[in-house]
């Protein structure tokens, strides 16, 4: 009897703690969504269950609108396209370069554990730490405020990430595959493309989505290296609500929701692959 009582107590305590964590993690998200649906008169009231919901904030963000006679909110579309181009380009480059580098590290131990450790630690460099030289350099080259520099610079984080995850992917592919291909007279490079890549396809998908999410969300690099709508990305657009437009909360929240949808739909995928990739790529490189 006592054992059962104790067990019930522990389940109840566990439930309460988990519920508290869920409220902590989800309350701000709920606030964001509900704020994006509030009419202008209720933006500052902070009510969590507004009586009237509207999509007008989304309309404002999609088409652009003037608030309080002076505050012009530009349409979101251009920024979204910029974000999309940068993220997709970074995804392709990271997969291409990262898959080759990870192959060398995992199969040939190129550069030993020092080099692989160095590549992976690049991921931890704070972008702010290297942004000033890049800013000066790009300005001199006439590349400041272009999508190209965003794509290149973002690689400082996404490329090491891709290498890291791909190492874990290759670990799961038996070397007998290459041995068979060599016996059949295939060269090393052709073996990679013909036999390894098809097997590693799910790994490419995992890396691709991870890189897309991180690149879509990146903030520091686009903030510093761009200044006009021709290259600014979504995260810069949203941060401008705070710095330029003041408390236009409804449209700001609507923009936040629109920006988050493409990444949040991948959350199940991230749960499945990010932890696994990071943990086994780290342990066995």
């Amino acid at each position: 009897m006592r054992g059962r009582r104790k067990k019930i107590m522990s389940v109840v305590i566990k439930g309460i703690v988990l519920a508290a964590f869920l409220v902590f993690f989800l309350a701000p998200v709920y606030t964001l969504v509900i704020e994006s649906l509030k009419p202008e008169s209720q933006w500052l009231t902070g009510t969590l269950f507004p009586t009237r919901l509207t999509l007008s904030n989304y309309g404002a963000v999609l088409h652009g609108r003037i608030y309080r006679q002076v505050t012009y909110i530009p349409p979101i579309m251009g920024y979204m396209i910029n974000s999309l181009i940068v993220s997709l380009a970074e995804m392709v480059i990271s997969i291409l370069l990262g898959s080759l580098a990870a192959y060398a590290i995992q199969r040939y131990r190129t550069g030993g554990s020092f080099l692989s450790g160095w590549i992976i630690s690049m991921m931890f460099i704070p972008p702010v730490g290297v942004i000033i030289p890049l800013l000066i350099y790009y300005t001199r080259l006439g590349l400041y405020d272009t999508l190209t520099v965003l794509i290149i610079s973002g690689l400082i984080f996404t490329l090491p990430l891709a290498v890291w995850i791909m190492i874990a992917v290759y670990q799961g592919i038996p070397t007998s595959l290459e041995e068979a291909a060599y016996v059949d007279g295939f060269g090393r490079l052709r073996t990679i493309f013909r036999f390894i890549y098809p097997v590693a396809l799910y790994g490419f998908l995992a890396v691709g989505i991870l890189v897309f999410v991180f690149s879509w969300n990146s903030f520091t690099i686009p903030l510093v290296l761009t200044s006009s709508t021709s290259a600014q990305t979504l995260s810069v657009y949203i941060s401008e609500f705070q710095t330029l437009y003041g408390s236009v909360y409804g449209p700001e929240a609507a923009a936040g929701v629109l920006m988050s949808i493409p990444t949040v739909i991948f959350v199940g995928f991230i749960v499945k692959y990010l932890g696994k990739g990071l943990v086994s790529g780290f342990g066995k490189r």
Binding site: V17, L18, F21, L22, F25, L26, A27, P28, V29, T31, L32, E35, L44, T45, G46, L48, L100, A101, A104, I105, R107, Y108, T110, I119, S121, M122, F124, I125, P126, V128, G129, V130, I131, I132, L134, I136, I156, L159, V163, N217, S218, T220, V224, S235, I238, S239, Q242, T243, Y249, E252, A253, G256, S260, T263, V267, I270, L278, V279, G283, K284
Partner: protein, 302 residues
Amino acid sequence: MARGTKLFGWILISPTLAVLLFLAIFPFAYLIYLSFQRFDPFISSNITFVGFQNYVTLTKDISFPIILENTFVFLAAVVLLVFAFGLVLALMLRNPFPGRNIIIILIMIPFMLSTAVIGTLWRISLQPFGYVNYVVTFFHIKPEAWLDRTFGSPTYVMIWLIIAAVWELTPLIFLILFTGFNSIPKELYEAAQVDGMSSFRQFRIITFPLSRTTIFLALFFAFLFPLRSFGLVYNLTYGGPGIYTATLPFYIYLTGVSFTSPYAGYGYASVLSILLLVIVSVIVIVLNLITRGQEVSGFYER
């Protein structure tokens, strides 16, 4: 290994190395060069050699000790909380139960958001009429304009900045620990239960020793991601009130990009950047040294 294979490996890795050398080594070399120059583009485009003057500025700048204190308070608090929360969640969600996967997915949502959006949703939550002020009244705390950049209390703003950072980072730490714990064979726990081991003892004898590598990995992220979190400061507090929530990455921005700090200029900003990179490198090296000794005996090496 044949020489040809060795060369082939280097050929495969060279594009990645080229990109990373350009993005990391070149800027670092340029930072060192700039740190000995005066270069203030709003005054003149000339670069003049000034010796160690920018490094001396570090000792004259009265904001600098405040920035350093902010950075380390922020870092220490975030590391501690993120690790504690991540660990508690990973342990609680280790064993399957109905609804577990949905809970995991919901917990991971903050990790999927951009810092720009995280700034937005916390600013909305913390505005004078936001829900946070409803909640705090239950704990007999006076509702406030928590993030007020003119009259706000530096302590409160720092606390909220830390909470937002913990909110942002806990999911990742949880996921790493959770994955590590889950790769431990279940039979070990079954055997321990047969022996009547308490759950604390199970953690000490099975979970902890077998997931050392995972724990170090989680520590890596817990220590280094707060040092990257420039975006959160920018979007949530903008360093305010005054500079009392400005961390080192944000101060670099004020000094070298927006030119709004008293010693603004590329030279001094370079000194600050070097300092940031040195702090990051020291943490990476120390954690690496600790891990290297462990890795051999770690679970994943077996």
